[in-house]
């Protein structure tokens, strides 16, 4: 106990210099009333202060927070959602819970700063007006608050209201020499958030960040040489030495789509891939497509190159069925799939999805175009179903629509091959010994399962596929 007493007295001295709330446990960084902000993290402070915290807590004042009158003669409400749990720290005006009465949803806000000690009602329970909702343990203010002088006193805003901001935000403002009264608060009740300081700073340095970026603390770097630009309607502030402040790391769990991708790609690791790349001259195809474009549009479909690539792949698979096969887990049997269900790697707002066009061997180029349109509409609306997402036997990825030339695609199990198509470039090519002409060139990068596919097979398939595209008239001979 003697040790405790001596630590306590030295601690009191330390407290006169500093109190840090960053040492608090719990997920929320909340202010402790009028907040001192300077942080000293000596081992003594961190370890022993925390130890004292738990015993100090018992001496706080536990206040019952009662459900106040809602108005309109309402006597009872249903508790619908709790925003806090026992042990959470809250500030005055933080939302505690949501109650409902007679079509009115009411947000109950805390009257005190402190720690939640007891919740009196479960969700869906009925609470009476005037009864206690929660017990809040308020902390005593530290004796003799010299720390308050360190912090800029709450600024008076244009509306003559106290500007609300947590101590962390106040410190950020102070470090960057910003008057809180000049910043527009976008938090509840006009509270100034960290993002508001950041966007204020961004405006000052002349870098106007778009709305979306303002949500994430972005590192704003400005060298002392760069004078702040004039920005209407704000007049340029005097040059202030700025330092780099960086955002914080953010960890979040993987969402469902990401988990699906992890599962699929991890399984793909088991497949030994080999790559094979080639170049295709699409000059004649480009001409053919421009001739057919209007006809297709009159039938209600926008014709791209993909239907041709897909149909050519199917014609090639007829000659090389091993590329449309599947190997079982133990690698004892290989199944040659009858149907050519060619998958399309699709970039949707949720991420990578691979729906497939079923039975391409029985479809015409126009049929494929119609089906692509349907899948694209479903994909962008986020409504692809299991039928469209399963059953694929071969995949094409048109990454070139976004960019790129060569790629190294990953085979999607249980398939054995995949092709990635680069962008179509206009390049000079020799058409005879001495003449150069304009050609439309696209690169294709194939990957195949080397357990069952060899290089020669892949090469011959690629040559056949290429020949259909370089000379589209040849496809006519093999139409079924």
């Amino acid at each position: 106990m003697a040790a405790m007493t001596s630590v306590r007295s030295s601690l009191t001295t330390l407290r006169r210099l500093v109190v840090s709330h960053r040492l608090q446990q719990g997920p929320r960084l909340q202010a402790l009333g009028p907040a001192p902000v300077v942080h000293i993290s000596t081992p003594l402070t961190s370890i022993h202060w925390r130890g004292f915290r738990s015993s100090h807590v018992a001496s706080g004042h536990v206040l019952p927070f009662k459900l106040s009158d809602i108005g309109e003669g309402i006597m009872e409400v249903t508790v619908k959602e709790w925003y806090v749990k026992e042990g959470d720290r809250v500030c005055q005006f933080d939302s505690i819970c949501e109650v409902q009465s007679d079509k009115a949803s009411v947000t109950i806000a805390s009257r005190y700063d402190g720690v939640i000690r007891k919740l009196y009602y479960d969700v869906d329970a009925v609470a009476h007006v005037g009864s206690t909702l929660v017990d809040i343990e308020t902390d005593k203010a530290p004796e003799g608050d010299p720390e308050e002088d360190v912090v800029e006193t709450p600024a008076m805003s244009y509306n003559h209201e106290k500007t609300q901001a947590t101590p962390a935000v106040r410190r950020l403002a102070m470090e960057n020499n910003i008057k809180l009264s000049e910043v527009v608060g976008t938090g509840k009740d006009g509270r100034i958030l960290k993002e508001d300081i950041i966007s204020f700073l961004a405006k000052q340095t002349g870098a106007i960040l778009p709305y979306e970026v303002q949500n994430i603390p972005t590192p704003v770097i400005s060298t002392p040489d760069t004078p702040p630009k004039e920005e209407t309607p704000i007049t340029a502030p005097p040059a202030i030495p700025r330092h780099i402040f960086s955002g914080e790391d953010r960890t979040e769990p993987l969402n469902g789509f990401q988990k699906a991708m992890v599962k699929t790609m991890s399984a793909a690791l088991k497949t030994p891939h080999f790559g094979y790349c080639d170049e295709v001259d699409l000059t004649q195809l480009v001409r053919l497509r421009s001739e057919l474009k209007d006809l297709a549009e009159s039938r209600g479909v926008k014709l791209s190159y993909m239907p041709f690539f897909i149909k050519a792949a199917s014609l090639g698979l007829l000659q090389f069925p091993v590329l449309n096969a599947s190997v079982d887990e133990s690698c004892q049997n290989i199944t040659f799939k009858a149907s050519h269900n060619i998958g399309l790697a699709m970039d949707t707002p949720q991420g990578l999805l691979v729906p497939n066009v079923k039975s391409v061997q029985a479809l015409s180029v126009f049929d494929i175009a119609v089906e692509l349109k349907r899948l694209q509409a479903l994909g962008s609306a986020g409504q692809l179903g299991t039928a469209d997402l399963t059953g694929g036997t071969f995949t094409l990825s048109n990454i070139g629509s976004i960019g790129g030339t060569y790629a190294k695609p990953v085979i999607l199990p249980p398939e054995v091959a995949i092709g990635a198509l680069g962008k179509i470039q206009v390049l000079p090519r020799f058409i005879s010994r001495d003449e150069i002409a304009k050609a439309y060139i696209m690169n294709v990068s194939w990957s195949a399962d080397h357990r069952v596919i060899d290089g020669a097979t892949m090469s011959r398939f690629s040559n056949l596929w290429r020949s259909f595209l370089e000379n589209p008239a040849a496809m006519v001979l093999d139409l079924k």
């Binding site: 309607p233 988990k259 999805l353 299991t386 399963t390």
Partner: protein, 372 residues
Amino acid sequence: MILRLSNRACVLSGSARLKSTLSTCFDEMGKAGIILKSASTGIFENLALEDWIHDHVDLQNRSILLLWRNSPVVVIGRHQNPWQECNLPMLRRLGIPLARRRSGGGTVFHDFGNINMTFFTSKKKYDRHRNLKVVTSALKALKPDLDVTATDRFDILLNGHYKISGTAAKLGRTSAYHHCTLLCSVDRSVLSSVLKSNTSEVIRSNATPSVPSPVKNLSDVDPTLDSDTIMEAIASQYNNEFGFDSQVITVDPAHEALMPGIHKMSKDIQMWEWIYGKTPKFSVCASLVVDDVNVKLDMDIKSGIVEQCAVEIPEDWLPPETVNEFTSTLNGSKYCPNEAAVLLAAFVRTRSMSAGVAGKIQRLCEGVLSVM
């Protein structure tokens, strides 16, 4: 006369302060009552506008009426269950979005034939009956023999029987808002089909249920009662009832400079975690028939995430290990057909199975997805 507030109009005086927002414009106007009309027909922008005014405008000595309309959308109350309240597959098919508002109450369908009115006041002046009186008086002023009455439940009935308006409210610390709908010329066939859930029998939950009522359009009794006429009448009756003298001011909720933070508010309420994730805990107990086989499906869903998933399938139809892997794929994922489809597709890809089993699993998936 419609007065349009632009950003330039609000950057008044020489002081180039950042704080030239809608809030300060109201202060400068110095009126006790203000009537606003939203320039947007997007539900999320308009709900964000309501929230912004509620959070940022000083309503202690000032009241505001906001008039707004939306393109077709279904709006559920704060604590409701969308699977119980509307036909989600039909909404997706028709491309009609779903929104969850912050106020309580039941589910409604909006389109251009519906007027929304939000009465913002301080908590002391919160009086729903008086607000509804504004609406009924305005309608009677347009057509004196119109039989419209407000009920104890804050509905407005036409001819004592047909509901033409529903109410919801939100109370904060110091201020409150009461909003209500008004059916002028809504597409009633779409309304009745989207508001009828396809899965309500299989859902067990404590979420606030809607009370279905027969509805009618005002334009059915008098074709001259169109939305614009009615909005003007309500605006002038608002002035009469409360003794204000405001013109109708148009506000564009997309104006971030005028209403800082409104863009983020609008994005927040579009997130899946708000619209679906805020559903109170519920469970699904469904009997499906897949390939002439009876399948019993049991799921517990909390915050929109599947916490527990159990499927009862005859052992000879599918091996139990496969079924277990199937259910564990769904565990911990969102109760969302798109996400479930992607996860189950990954499951089918990565687990070695014969074509017959793969087909069965796929049809089982479709059955499960049909209740989502």
